[in-house]
């Protein structure tokens, strides 16, 4: 039994099918990449998993427990953490205080929570900025903060929503390394990404969405050669050479 399982999940908004009969699984200790052209429904999938939206149809389960109908805070308590595509820091709190909010998920004592937050900051490389306010951080550091905060909740599964977006190449490499470190510490990762190089090198498996449907699934190499995938990204006029 995989850690996260989606089965025939559908969700529409108004008349638009954002996600259509989607099924895939994320095995424990894996890094799974979720890719697809813009508007293919990737963030909707995250929102369905984390309880922001209710699916119209289908089943979602985590470690054998159903996710359907659970509020976001309940989903987090089950062990799923997430970052947001557009970072959502607590702007009046320092970097440390931001991460501390996450740490309080599993730790009740204020001083221990502070120490845990410091440890997570060290892991992501933000320790030197602990007293800074989020508005004074670079975009790369804000992404790191978002990651650190979710990580502090001690998730079993971490949903990363385009953490590489807007980063320079050097920063992207650092982020890939960071993701690997986090994975090595025992966290399963489900990653939405547009930066192909990053998601291809990170992931064990890739799921490709197009118009809310899964059009391909497999190892990065298999997916990169899949004609359906190429057509989805490049359009009908292009055929593989």
């Amino acid at each position: 039994m995989a850690l996260l399982e989606l089965s025939q999940v559908s969700r529409s908004f108004g008349g638009i099918r954002a996600v259509n009969a989607l099924s895939f699984a994320v095995p424990e200790a894996a890094i799974v990449g979720l890719i697809g052209p813009n508007g293919s429904g990737k963030t909707t999938v995250f929102n369905l998993i984390s309880g922001v939206f209710l699916p119209d149809r289908g089943a979602l389960s985590f470690a054998g427990q159903s996710l359907v109908g659970r509020k976001p805070h309940e989903v987090c308590r089950l062990g799923i953490g997430r970052t947001f595509q557009i970072v959502q820091p607590f702007n009046s709190l320092t970097v440390l205080e931001n991460v501390r909010v996450g740490a309080f998920r599993t730790i009740g004592d204020p001083d221990r929570a502070t120490r845990e937050a410091d440890a997570v900051l060290a892991l992501v490389g933000l320790g030197h900025k602990r007293e800074a306010l989020p508005t004074s951080l670079t975009i790369a550091d804000r992404k790191r903060l978002e990651l650190a905060r979710a990580l502090a909740t001690r998730p079993r599964l971490l949903l990363l929503d385009e953490v590489m977006a807007g980063l320079r190449p050097a920063e992207t490499l650092e982020m890939i390394e960071l993701a690997r470190r986090i994975h090595a510490s025992g966290v399963t990762l489900l990653v939405i990404e547009h930066v192909m190089r990053a998601v291809m090198s990170l992931s064990h498996r890739i799921v490709v969405l197009h118009h809310g449907e899964k059009i391909a699934e497999g190892t990065p190499q298999e997916v990169a050669r899949d004609p359906e995938v190429i057509r989805a990204y490049l359009g009908e006029e292009y055929r593989p050479a």
Binding site: R82, P89, F90, R100, A150
Partner: protein, 302 residues
């Protein structure tokens, strides 16, 4: 021995600081600005007073029972507001609406039996009856109340509860994604804020010894309650004290040196509120901290 007038001024400062701290827990920390705290204030005052007059209940016990009534009202209005996702100004206005409804109900009820206000029978100085000829005793009582409330606020701010409140305040959706049950924590803030405010109502009743519906449930008192927190610094432990000192002193100075009229201090408060919102939205406390920090840095460099 300071005069009764000076003691009265001190009592008013500490009292409005206390009410500011109470409001601040829901408004400054949890980020839910209520424009209707008069509801808890008046409810507390009338609960203890009516129990005292009709059943001889000591106002001290009445204070606790009034606090309980406040909690129930707070949980009720909070449940409705938060369950249906009211935020920001809509929450503020709905709380105002609740307070106004309560005011109208009490006005209808009281106008028949006590058209000129509800007087508390004078007992001279009596600890059991919470009445003192010498205002000095009231000073010590409100001082204890303020210290207790401030200590509570300080402890909560440092704890998980405080961190969760501030997270909810800054970004409720992100907070939920971190495992925070925003609904429950907002209700908690509401309950604590309500009980403290209601108990403040009892103090007010016992200090002035007559209750008038419009004074206790009106928009004016709701505004005065939130003003010391907003002007001093919402979301800080000592902001309400700074705000209360500033507002009460300003009110006294203008009353003494400028020909005052009823409503003059409200007009001044309005001006101060406007100035603070535009130039110092973090409040006076932060406004004082900035030059202080700059001074410290300048000295360190020298």
């Amino acid at each position: 021995m300071p005069s009764q007038y000076v003691i009265h001024l001190a009592v008013m400062i500490l009292f409005f600081a206390y009410l500011g701290v109470a409001w601040n827990i829901l408004g400054g920390y949890a980020g839910q600005f209520s424009f209707g705290h008069a509801a808890f204030f008046g409810l507390g005052a009338y609960t203890s007073t009516l129990l005292h007059i009709h059943y001889g209940v000591s106002p001290w016990l009445g204070m606790v029972l009034g606090g309980l009534a406040g909690v129930l009202l707070g949980l009720g209005s909070g449940f409705l507001s938060f369950r249906y996702g009211l935020r920001g100004p809509y929450f503020a206005l709905v709380m105002l609406a609740f307070a106004e409804m309560l005011r109208l109900l009490f006005e209808t009820w009281m106008s028949k039996t006590y058209p000129l206000g509800l007087p508390i029978p004078l007992k001279g100085t009596s600890l059991l009856d919470f009445q003192f000829k010498d205002k000095g005793h009231y000073f010590y009582i409100v001082l204890v109340m303020l210290i207790a409330a401030t200590w509570l606020c300080h402890r909560l701010a440092r704890s998980r509860i405080g961190a969760y409140w501030m997270a909810i305040r800054d970004n409720e959706d992100a907070a939920e994604a971190l495992g925070i049950n925003a609904f429950a924590y907002k209700l908690l803030a509401m309950a604590i804020s309500a009980v403290l405010t209601a108990m403040g109502g009892t103090f007010y009743a016992q200090y002035f010894l007559t209750l008038e519906v419009n004074e206790l449930f009106g928009v004016q008192i709701s505004v005065e309650i939130l003003l010391s927190a907003i002007i001093g610094g919402a979301g800080t432990v000592f902001g309400p004290l700074v705000g209360a000192v500033a507002l009460q002193l300003l009110s006294e100075v203008t009353r003494v040196y400028i020909r005052a009229f009823s409503g003059f201090d409200l007009m001044i408060y309005g001006c101060v509120l406007i100035l603070v919102i535009i130039f110092l939205p973090q409040g006076l406390l932060e406004g004082m901290r900035r030059p202080y920090r700059a001074l410290v840095r300048a000295v360190a460099r020298a």
